[in-house]
Symmetry: C2
Subunit: 307 residues, 2 copies
């Protein structure tokens, strides 16, 4: 592993406790926002099933951590953080569908269409995506930011989630199953499929948290590299991961003959590449004070995680 560019001592920050504590705040925000919808019907039931099936809550935590990194208050961005997790959860439900990745398990539980049925899973995904924007639009007044700033965040989140971002990435990823991508093409796919939403999670927190343009730009560089590293690590875990720890099948990429970093660079090459990306991410935020330590720690965690 390459040397970290700062004096930041990984051992001095208790990431496990941080992720547990902030993850719990995310769950509370999800709960507060999902109760807006009538319970006792199948689609809300399915939305709750997937929303509360665990998960790292990485995107909302990135949003909260970015707000705090620039001196903002995480409480002000909790609804925006919840909306980001709504969108992430919808994307998992739809990606798992038989017509797409056809996965039976996610985080050790049956996927939504297996626990319910395909129609319900399609509608539950649609419901979470739609609700995300209701949560966002109603977040005016949840923090000391103007309606103009909130509209800009909504525009950026929809752009990242949409056909210039995550959805296009997913389409290109599917098309990649029948052709070989170069490394540059693969980076484009992953920047869109995974990177765009992680990048906008950091942006939303930093922007609504009151960051300066320079801070926001530095955090954006951090997010781009961390987002790509996350996907490289995902590809590696699909080769060497423990399905029991991961709660989902491994070896599926190779079975589908998908373009991945291990396939392109070999396992060691992919690991080196991930290290380089995280190094660049940490360099981008080298001038930030210790309020940025959670983001530093998350970047390192992303390539050392086991699930």
């Amino acid at each position: 592993m390459t040397t970290l560019p700062t004096a930041f001592d990984l051992n001095s920050f208790d990431l496990k406790t941080y992720l547990a504590e902030y993850g719990q705040l995310v769950v509370q925000a999800l709960e507060r926002n999902i109760t807006r919808y009538p319970s006792g019907n199948r689609v809300t039931h399915a939305m709750r099933y997937s929303l509360f099936a665990g998960g790292k809550r990485l995107r909302p935590i990135l949003c909260m951590a970015a707000a705090e990194a620039v001196g903002g208050n995480k409480d002000d961005v909790m609804d925006v953080a919840a909306a980001l997790e709504f969108i992430h959860t919808y994307s998992l439900i739809h990606d798992d569908l038989p017509a797409l990745d056809d996965d039976d398990y996610r985080r050790g539980n049956l996927t939504c269409h297996k626990a319910f049925d395909e129609a319900t899973a399609i509608l539950a995904g649609d419901g979470l995506l739609t609700s995300a924007f209701e949560v966002l639009a109603r977040a005016a007044g949840s923090g000391p930011f103007s309606p103009e700033k909130l509209l800009k965040v909504i525009a950026r989140i929809s752009q990242a989630a949409g056909c210039n971002g995550m959805i296009l990435g997913q389409m290109l990823d599917i098309e990649g199953e029948s052709k070989s991508y170069t490394q540059t093409e693969l980076e484009n796919v992953h920047n869109k499929k995974t990177g765009a939403m992680m990048e906008v999670s950091v942006f939303s927190g930093a922007y609504l948290g009151g960051g300066t343009p320079e801070q926001i730009s530095a955090l954006d560089t951090y997010a781009v590299h961390t987002g790509l590293a996350f996907q490289v690590a995902d590809d590696i875990l699909n080769v060497v991961g423990d399905p029991k720890v991961m709660g989902k099948a491994v070896g599926t990429d190779a079975a589908r003959d998908k373009s991945t970093y291990p396939a392109l660079l070999g396992l060691d090459g992919a690991r080196d590449f991930a290290d380089q990306l995280i190094n660049k991410a940490l360099q981008a935020i080298v001038s930030f004070d210790n309020k940025c330590d959670p983001l530093r720690s998350i970047a390192t965690y992303i390539i050392t995680r086991s699930r």
Copy 2:
């Protein structure tokens, strides 16, 4: 048919020309907004396929007509109108999927998943829904309304499209295939499935067009009744319609043993009910001047249309 409550002369208003002219403006607004996304990929191609496959453009036209009914300018709400049609088109793509209604034809063309494939259709629907909110968030400055007002419209549209509205209605509609609804239950299903989006289309136009609370309230009553009448007419057309004119199959509700108005009230009873609803819709806007004639004419068209 019951007597219309106003001196409004249906023959004095050329609805056909109006719908053609306003429909063309909608198409231009759709084109302007869809070009935001990169072309040359399968998902954008599928989005365009469904977006430009014709259709009555009823929701965006209701929005434009409501803006003008309160003295506003239709140009100011064109992007909002386009977003409403994005959402409507996404809902049709997903409703047509094999796991839901499993329809092969829509407006005389192959449905999206038949023209492309299921994965692409799911993503194209997701893409249109997501893009709708990008279009909405970027509509600040497209008219003389404040960011606060635009946020309220985004919240209302997502509420109408979501799990208190269209998506819940679709779920209840699917569940209705295996049980019998009473008329009250059926009205609830349709108010959510079809009514909510038509209501919010009228609201968005009236609110952003600068309507008074009284005007907005009257137009809301108009929209609720017109929306329900639209669904009753849809049920009737599914029994007596000409598949060649409609561009889709008929008799499908009876084949699925679905709860419909003709099934509950008989054909004549359903027609009477639709007439009563339109009568109430027209009564609600009786005090509006002739700038409201398009809305009056549309209400009447809705129950006399052949597709």
